[in-house]
Structures are given as structure tokens and as C-alpha cells.
Amino acid sequence: MVGNGMAGVRTLEELLRIAPDLYEITVFGAEPHPNYNRILLSPVLAGEQTLADIVLNPLSWYDEHDITLHLGKKVVDVHRSRRIVVADDGTEAPYDRLLVATGSNPFILPLPGKDLAGVISYRDIADTNAMIETAKTHKHAVVIGGGLLGLEAANGLMLRGMSVTVVHIAPWLMERQLDEVAGNMLQKSLESRGLKFLIGAQTAALVGEETGPEGEPGPARGRVRAVRFKDGSEERADLVVMAAGIRPNTALAEKIGLHCSRGIVVNDTMQTITDGRIYAVGECAAHRGIAYGLVAPLFEQAKVCATHLGEFGIGRYLGSQTSTKLKVTGIDLFSAGDFAGGGESEEILLSDPYNSVYKKLVVKDDKLIGACLYGDTADGSWYFDMIREAKNIAQIRDQLMFGEQHLGDTGHAGNNRASAMADSAEVCGCNGVRKGTIVKAIREQGLFTLDEVRKCTKASGSCGSCTGLVEQILMATAGAGYTAAPKLKPVCGCTDANHQQVRDAIREQHLLTIAQVYEHLDWRTPNGCASCRPAVNYYLISTWPHEALDDPQSRFINERAHANIQKNGTFSVVPRMWAGETNSSELRRIADVVDKYKIPTVKVTGGQRIDLLGVKKEDLQAVWQDLGMPSGHAYGKTLRTVKTCVGSEWCRFGTQDSTRMGKELERDLWRMYAPHKVKLAVSGCPRNCAESGIKDVGVIGVDSGWEIYVAGNGGIKTDVAQFLCKVTTHQEVLDVSAAFLQLYREEGWYLERTVHYVGRVGLDHVKARVIDDVENQKRLFERLRFSLDGLPDPWFEHDKARVDVRQFEPIAI
């Protein structure tokens, strides 16, 4: 191998990996160093890293792989017919295959004075050391070229204490990697650090010092003194760094007769087109007319080349898209693809001068074709991947600018958030499921759907707020096998019908029993399951009140026993206290019941009631009887409570009688079954002590009447209720609240809270039916009245409420 640089050595590494014993390898390197990371010369110059830090392959590596290494020897000739390489010191080496990786040379402007002392390029360790040494003794530096390399050199020299001027002939910095806006932002930022710029200036000559300063033993004769421009002006310079670009180093190749055109011309296997025994990789090679100067494509070339050298004969190099990042600490800059835009393409722009952030995305035919980022480059590689894969971005176009993180929270596209999570990271907070557990279950049990993952791991099975994340993990782990959940899910595994289809069938076909529903909709199971039967039972009794019969055996235990089951199998009892108001005789009865039935815990609830916890099931009937208070329905998908503040009766700030309003609402609506629990609140003034903003229906008293808010939720995810309307009288509050709740009862899906129901149908849908259409409001109100009319209190009218009292009597042996 001729050339001991990054591309060549990477090729050897790849080759040794796939065919370790195929070749005896000899390497010639003109520099006296083992392979080092040329990209990191800038941090070395800037004093952030040392030379030792950037060595990629120490000498021991060459030893370990029995590679004969000739350092500091420049190959001057190759006898292609005899297959022998000759170095400048006369060293010879024979070859079967020759790899040319001579890299590139800096482009030295053909200026008068270019050979003066103190005029250097910026390419290797020697240049870097020269700059570091010069900075110790001299003050003024001029860098010619405001490209990537020039700016990195200028930054490094400045950090080493020199006063640096960058001369750049193009209208803005890094014109090949940045658009004008980003280029100007970059210039501003570098100027604020102390760099000076001469933009558009054309260098005419480098002026040497004929003699040292008078009377002093000045610097050596012939050292550069200044840069002179076409307009005659001069800029003082003790050091001139030429960073006006690089040219492929093809001197050797041309001498030995390899065809060169902007580099050594190679085919897709990295073989030179002239000599089948000779390959070329890296900056010296021209593939399809392009000589790449960035490391990623060179490594791709190395991989392809190695497979062919290794006689695997697979893989072709098809060219690369390249991206650019500037390695100046504290400046984030990224560009890739066709960032200039224009023509048929469209640009998405974000510009925040205050925070120095600028982003430009260039889109054409629903594909991202270019990106130029300044200030915030976190999503650079994400954009770059999309450019390379020519991914269709129509679906995510409106969110594209905000980056991958933004997308990761909601959609399927950003699966990297899931991939990036550690295995120990908790995914499902409800069930304490970690990512590793989910991944393991998916792998070991071959899961493909969200439902399967839910069943196996419980992840996302409770509140569901991590569903998106679980889907991403599933997608990342199961890959192509992943099955996205259908949009409208079936009620459960017993049927293909979804909730809306069941509701529609019950109404349209006038179905009255669960059996009829199952038959009509071809249920797969004879009597459903614990998921579908309660849903269907609710749909029947809410659609056909007083006609369809409630089925207690299709209700969850709480609604069957009219009490809340606790973890130890006992129950809790919450008697109704209208709007949270009670009195001495109720409290006395409660106290007596607690004593008599040895109830272990008495607790005030969040809904302004009293909870008796730990009641034995066989005591329930007697407890109800002794309390002599109505059922609080704290156990059901029903109206729970109407929370109120003290209101104008007592409160010195109160504007409305919220307690009375609350009692009226509660007496109107109690015993009302719904798709899910329903909570109300009434506050007597805008201070809102009853927290009406997070209730299914929240009422707030104002001077001129009442404001009604709906679809709030204080649960898993707090949702602020939305303003529905403002009314003046108590009766209007009752009418509107009842109409809204009846609409929810008729249209909501089982276990869907008002917040999700309104989110699904839209507030406008609700307003149109409940507020705008007064006749419809009335009909809704009347249907609710009809439904609730004559409904029994299950604590006292067991027969009428179809309470199976046998459940309270255990059989003793």
C-alpha cells in the first residue's frame, strides 16, 4: 500500500477482518507517523487534544498484523510490469496487488512569494506543528481561504494567541457548504470571538521581509511580512496559511501511467481502470468523476475495496451523499445535500437571530433533498438519513422542522427515541415495566402486536399514555414483523365489530339483549368476556331505557355489589352527601355504623364525602340500612359527586350559591349510568375553589350567571375543561348539563371519559347539538329525564335495581 492515511489503513483493517492470511502486507508512508486521524488536527491546533490522542493505529498494531511498515519513505516509482514499488531511499517491495492511497495535497495558490518562509498549508502533523511553533513567537497570521479547513486553522491560531485575519474570495464563508444566511451568521459568531475577515478580497502577492528591523537581529531573511491585495492594500502577516482547497495527489499515479482525471479514475470496485492489479481509495481516487474529501465516503470505499482485495468480490461503491460539520468548539453547523434550493424545490425555514439558530430544509417532490443547520444541529444526522434514503416526508412535513424528538412523542416514524432508551429505563409507569422487559418479551415470545405486548408485559395496559412508546419499541424490535394496530379497534377479541358498530346495531336493529347483539354481530364466543359484556350491557340500557333489562352478571363486581372491592376482598361504602353537605344526625349514624361493624378506616374522599373502608361483603346490606343515606354510587360508571365550594351563603367572596346549584344538579343526575364515571363541580366565584376546571362538567359562578365548562379531567393526564357556554339561571345550568351528559351517554364508547369523547367528536359537534339547536337540547334533556325517571336506589330497592342478594349470603358448611 502506498500512503499510510485513514482511507488506506481502513481498507487494510477491513481486509484483515475478512481475509487475515491472504496477503503479506507492506505499507509506505511519507510522513514519519503511524496512521492518525487527520480530521482531529484542528482540535490539536486549538490545544484541545494532543498528537498522541489522535493516533488511530499505533506502531504495535502494524506489528500485531505482521505488516511491514516503511515510515518517512516516499514512493517515487512503480514498475508495473515487474510489479515492484520503489521508495525515495531506494527501498523496494514487490506486489501482487497495489493499493494507492496517496490522499491529497493542499492547493497552493500560484502567488508571488508563495515560497517565502512562514507560508504553509494545513494538511498534516508537520503543518500543525509549524503553526503551533510560529504562534509562540509571532503575532500576526493570515489564513487564505474561508472554507472548512481555513476556519478551523484560523480558530486554532487565534486560540494560540495570534491575531488572525481570514481572507476569503467568495461572497460568504464556506460558500460550498452554507447558504448566505448561515455563512453570515457564522462570520458574526467568529468575529465576536476575535477573528477578522476580509471577504471578497483578492490576494495579489505575499510580501517578504528584505531585512530585519533596523539594528536588531531580526527574523531570517525571506520570511513573509504581509499579504498584498489587488487593490494595493496590505495586511500584516508573520504567518500565511494557504487553505484554498485540496487537490488529489496523483503525482505518482500519473508518473506510472494510471489514467487520472480529477483523481485516479476507479470503477465501482475501486479498481483503477488502467491496471487491474492496482486499486485506489480515498481522496486521491476519482469515482464517477468525484474525488471525495470527507471521511464517511472514504470508509465506504474502503469497505468495498477490501471485499474485492479479499477475493469475496461482493459490493460496489455507488458514490456517496456527503454532509459537513465544522469542528470549531461552540459553533454548531451542519449541511448536507442540495441546501441551496431554488428551481422546483421548496424551502422550510426557521430563523431565530436572538438565539443564533437558523435551519433550512430543502424539499422537492415530498422528499428532503438538502439541509443547512446553524446553531442547533442535533437533528443533522436524522435529516441526513432522510436525504440519503430519499424518504417520503409528506406525512411528517409539518413537523419536520422541529426534529426527531418532536416526532418521537407521537408518531411511528421516530423510532429512534425508543431505540435510544436504555434497557433499564421505565416505559410504563403504571405497571413499572422497563424497556428491557418489553424487548425480551417481544424477542422470546415472538410478539407482533401492541395487544400481545400489553397482555404479556402489562406495558401500556393501564393508563395507555405510553402506548406510542411501546409501539415504537415493538417496531424497533420486531422490525418488519410489526403489525400496526388498526385505527378502530374491535371491542375485544370476541368480535371484529368496534364500539361504534355495536352502538349502531343496537339502535338500528332495536336489539334488547346481550344474546341478540352477539348473534346479530356474529360474536365468536357464546357469552362474550369480561371486556365486551359490560360494554354491551351499558349500550343496551342506555339506548333502550326501561326496555332493555340490566344484567348484573355482566357488570363488574363493584356495580353488582354496589360497593368498591378492595385489595383484600372487603368493600368500601360511600354514602351520598348532596353537594358535600352533611349534618349531625348523618355523622352520628356514620359513627355508629363504624363502631357496630368494626369498620377499620374512615376517610374523607376527594369528592367531599366519607368513605368507610374494609366492610365485609356480608355486612353491606346492614350497613346501608343503618346509614339510612342514599347510595353515593362511588363504585360505578355513573354520576359520582358534585363537588362545591361554600358559595355566597357563607363565603365573603362568593357571588353565586354554588352549594344549592350543586345540590340541584346532584339530585337531578344521581343514579345516572354513563360510559365512564362522571364528576361535576360548582364554584361560586371565579376563584374556583371547587376545581371546576378539571371536571366532566364544571360550573363557575360569575356576577351575571354561570359559566359551564366540559370535558375536563384530573386523572392520569390532566386536561383542562373547555368552555361550553354561559347562562344566567339555575334551570339553564341544569338543562345544559343534562343535555351534554345525555349526548355523551348516547354517543360515548364504553370506558371513554368525556375528555376523550369530546376529543373524538370535537367540541363544535357538542355545541351544535347542545347549545345551538335549542330543540335538540330539549330532546336530549327529556331523554335523560326519561332514562332516570323512577330509577331505584340500589342500596334500598334491591329487587327493582335487580341486585342479587344471594351474593351477600355465603354458604356455610
Binding site: P526, Q553, N568, A812, I813
Partner: protein, 114 residues
Amino acid sequence: MNDWKTICRVDDIPVLGARTVTRASGGDIAVFRTADDKVFALLDRCPHKGGPLSQGIVFGESVACPLHNWTIGLDDGCAAAPDVGCVQRFSVRVEDGAVALDLAELAQPVPVAA
């Protein structure tokens, strides 16, 4: 030797429901009735967290535990996949609509709660 003891009539158990049977030694027993009047008996203690299976929703030949919705097979007493665990089963005899349990079996010590 079986020692059958009639505890109730089939009709005393709700269809797709259960009754609880208490015994002096502790460890209630849940006696279930399916839609087609089959009767099963299990220890009234879910293998998961000890929930009272008698309070669950009965469907097919399974019951859903009221605490965390594990599905337990009435016939084998075992949790449906992916959950794992089994609860003790008891023999049941139904003759002329009378449900009987085996006193000898019931007299055996109650397993310690998990």
C-alpha cells in the same frame, strides 16, 4: 373415600355467577355456574394476588379476577397465558339439581397464601 355434602341447588347460583362457601378451617371456596349450568369449584383466591374469584365476571368456562383481571380457567384452575399460576380445584357432584362438594377434600389443610 368421597364424602359428598350437598351445599345448595344449581338454581341457587346465579347463571354466569358464583356463590361463596365458607368452611371452618378457613379458605373460602367459589362455586361457579356457567351459561349451560355446569358447576365448578375453586379456592376463592386468585393465584396472582389472592383476589376473590367468586366476585369476578364469569364467561365461557373462565372467570376474570376482580382485582387485576387475570383470566382463570374454571376447569383447570389455571391462569390463561401469558399469566402463570394455578389455584386449587375441588370436586363437584351435581345430581338432580343438587350441588355437592367432597367433605374429605374440604378437610384437607388450606394452602398458605402466596
